[in-house]
């Protein structure tokens, strides 16, 4: 598959140690990348993958160790140093300017075409060429804010290809993509390695790591705990190396009796941000004790559907009945009072307030109701008791209840949101991408919690782009394509292949 002679070494990092006050983030880590290969860095959040890559990208300086590019020792002092040496990085949180177009974002930071006014014509043309060559669908004139996360990802990759990097670091690039998109991405990435580039793939999604990698290095607690190749290992073994214990990869689904309908959607039509139809003639029913999964490629109306159900996006026509009440013209608050809870897609934007303490975020939805609120005043004793209980029950790892939420890891913030949303014992739960970007341990836990809710009679609408998750948790799976339901499959008959076809808009 990949050329393996030592002369092809693009990058060598040797004995890298990085200490932060009170912790060693990287300890004597060796890592290298050859031309034309994908070398995966695998590990849980906080294992030191990002630190290692930030050192390579010039964001941090190693306390010890050496970095060599094509055999020559180098010192990389800043990202612009790294970029000059042909290193590109796609961050988990996109580095795009939302108010600019795709072409403008790609052109940002490039040597300007020497004119007063930047002429984007050539940039647009080149983007279109590269689009075709790499199968990356991007509209150069679309504004970033209009794009779904999956589409934004493609823009990030376009930026790297456009700059013709020789070594590309991808930090959790698939955490926002569907399997179909992941397949496309992998094809693109393979095209890049065939051209002699080296890729560092950071991920904790095991099947993707198995599918894409030439070599795998596993980190845990800042140290290398394993070096292997897909042909010599298994997902279970990798998980064990990452977490340090046995991990149950697939959730257990018990039999559950679906009962009365908690959510009925009929002929729903909703417009997207651009004023074009995002959800079209949508019909759906979710009964208590049942999980209905919505699968689909990012940007096919899932976000707009979730927002319309939450009362945050106006409904053009159609009906939504929750717990027997028509909710299309209700406020988010009124809908919540009907026993509806949400796990929003973007937890740091919609789910939690970064500057707020853990406790404040936990009471966000219930802050104006007893026992938390008494005559308009917050009852801090109740808040502390209730919140410590929630933090314990949902195993949110936080130093104190007063810790700013932004200081927690993604997985723990998600657990916090879930703790809050489930604390009111909802009758209907709308969960969007509940495990996106969280590590294996947290995802495993979140799946267990969702299954417990289902067993307890909650109706769950699960919107997810992770097909394994949708198949593993749902009783029925509806596939969304361009705002419509392409088809609905029962859990038993759902396979990645069948769902994949529907997701691509091919009806059966």
């Amino acid at each position: 598959m990949a050329p393996t002679t030592a002369g092809d070494l693009l990058l060598e990092m040797e004995g890298i140690t990085k200490r932060f006050p009170g912790v060693v983030a990287n300890e004597a880590v060796d890592f290298d990348v050859r031309r034309g290969e994908v070398h995966t860095l695998l590990g849980e959040n906080g294992a030191g993958k990002s630190t290692l890559m930030k050192i390579l990208y010039g964001l941090y300086h190693a306390d010890e160790g050496e970095v060599r590019l094509s055999g020559k020792p180098v010192t990389i002092n800043s990202p612009s140093d790294a970029i000059d040496r042909g290193i590109g990085m796609i961050h988990q949180h996109f580095m795009l300017v939302p108010t600019l177009t795709v072409a403008e974002n790609v052109a940002l930071g490039l040597p300007p075409i020497r004119r007063i006014r930047q002429d984007l014509g050539p940039v647009r043309e080149r983007i279109s060429e590269l689009s075709d060559a790499y199968g990356l669908q991007v509209d150069p004139d679309a504004y970033i804010w209009q794009l779904a996360v999956g589409e934004r990802q493609r823009v990030e990759i376009m930026k790297a290809i456009y700059r013709d990097v020789s070594l590309l670091i991808l930090d959790e690039p698939t955490s926002v993509l569907t399997p179909a998109e992941v397949d496309d991405l992998f094809v693109t990435l393979r095209q890049m390695t065939d051209g002699g580039r080296g890729l560092v793939f950071i991920s904790h999604k095991l099947h993707e790591v198995m599918a894409l990698s030439d070599r795998i290095t596993v980190l845990r607690g800042g140290r290398v705990t394993g070096r292997t190749m897909p042909s010599e290992t298994s997902r279970e073994q990798l998980a064990h190396m990452m977490v340090g214990r046995e991990v149950q990869l697939a959730p257990t689904r018990l039999e559950s009796k679906a009962a009365e309908a908690r959510l009925k959607v009929k002929d729903l039509n909703v417009l997207g941000d651009r004023g074009t139809p995002a959800v079209t003639d949508f019909d759906l029913e979710v009964r208590s004790g049942e999980v209905v999964g919505i699968a689909g490629v990012s940007g096919n109306g899932q976000r707009e559907l979730a927002e319309a159900l939450a009362g945050l996006r106006p409904v053009v026509s159609g009906e939504v009945v929750m717990n027997g009440v028509e909710t299309t013209d209700r406020t988010p608050k009124e809908i919540r009072r009907l026993g509806v809870s949400y796990i929003p897609e973007e937890r740091m934007r919609d789910g939690a307030i970064g500057e707020f303490s853990v406790a404040e975020n936990l009471i966000l939805t219930d802050h104006d109701r007893p026992p938390i609120s008494r005559r308009g005043l917050l009852d801090f004793k109740q808040i502390e008791d209730g919140c410590s209980d929630l933090v314990r029950r949902f195993t949110v790892k936080t130093p104190t209840l007063d810790t700013p939420t932004a200081n927690l890891s993604g997985g723990n913030i998600q657990k916090l949101v879930i703790a809050r949303e489930l604390s009111g014992e909802p009758e209907l739960l709308i969960a969007s991408q509940p495990t996106r970007g969280v590590d294996i341990g947290a995802a495993e836990y979140i799946h267990t919690v969702l299954m417990d809710q289902r067993a307890g009679g909650t109706a769950i609408l699960l919107i997810s782009e992770d097909l394994d998750e949708v198949i593993g948790l749902s009783d029925r799976i509806a596939v969304m394509f361009e705002g419509r339901i392409m088809g609905t499959l029962d859990q038993e008959e759902a396979t990645v292949q069948r769902l994949g076809l529907l997701m691509a808009g091919v009806s059966e």
């Binding site: 983030a25 934007r349 707020f356 966000l364 341990g441």
Partner: protein, 365 residues
Amino acid sequence: MLAAALIGAVMLLILGANPLTGYAALVDGAFGGTKNLANSALKAMPLLLVGAGITVAFRTGVINIGGEGQIIVGAIFSTLLVLAVPDVPRFLLVPLAFLFGALGGAVWGGMAGALKSYAGVNEILSTIMLNIIAVQILNLLLRGPLMDPGEIERGSRIPHTERLSGNADLPILPGGTRLHLGVVVAVLMAVACYVLLFRTTQGLRLRASGHNPFASLYAGMSVKRNVVLAFMYSGAMCGMAGVTLVFGSEGHRLATDGGATTFTGAAGFNGIVAALFGGLHPLWTIPASFLFGALLVGANAMQRAVQVPAALILALNGLVVVFVVGSMQARARLGRTAARLRAEARESPADTEAPDPDAAAEAPP
């Protein structure tokens, strides 16, 4: 602070004055003796009211630079009340004046809030325009219907009201200084702003809207309503500052200079500085306002002592603020970064060494 003092010293030297004499005069004028301290506190009073109100708006994510207008409208409302019912006993009229002042400020502030929430008008634009409108209404009233009849009789036509009812005079506090009830009200209201922001459900909503309107919407809050409310609270505080400036003034009347700053002494803007100086925390705004008030008072003393233009002192004040706020910001950023690193650090060893709590939690309860 030190850097500002040094730059100021250089400026004084250039102007041919002795910086040491100047600074000594400033410190003495601001803090030397009870009388000077009291004057500093009086100068600080409207800044504190405005500043504490500003913190409420800022924490809700909106910028209220309409303090000037809200002060003026608050002053007009309370003046109209006192002119209408001058004979109400003092123990009732004083609280009523504050109430009407707060109401006037809330109306004026609420307009900016409503314009932002329901018509999408940028609040900076609307508050500045509302400031200008308020000044002109004030000038119009004082040159017309509210002008002191005595001035009309004498033909001097100075634009101010008659001496307002003594029943509305803010009582002087015991102790032989000029300190009056307004100072107490200002401190109490600053504490009230703190309670509002950090102890009430309303305050939680306001802060939530300010930090993250998206999450607030998802949580079922009305961000638009919160913006209007924040402006009203903020405006009410400014309105009360207007009351203290009228009924606590030496002339006990509403006056204007006919220009843009009227009787406020730019408290509507300086209050913002005091709030920023106090880290946008209502309680820290108390010492911040006092310091700022003291600088203003001391500036006059310095001017008398070394004969430099007062403008220099104002520039010096500006320097102090820029340096202090700048260093606070830098320190806050450092603190956040350190906290994040510590949190990340804490997590990684926990994943490897301690038995994972996740594992324990999987057992069905």
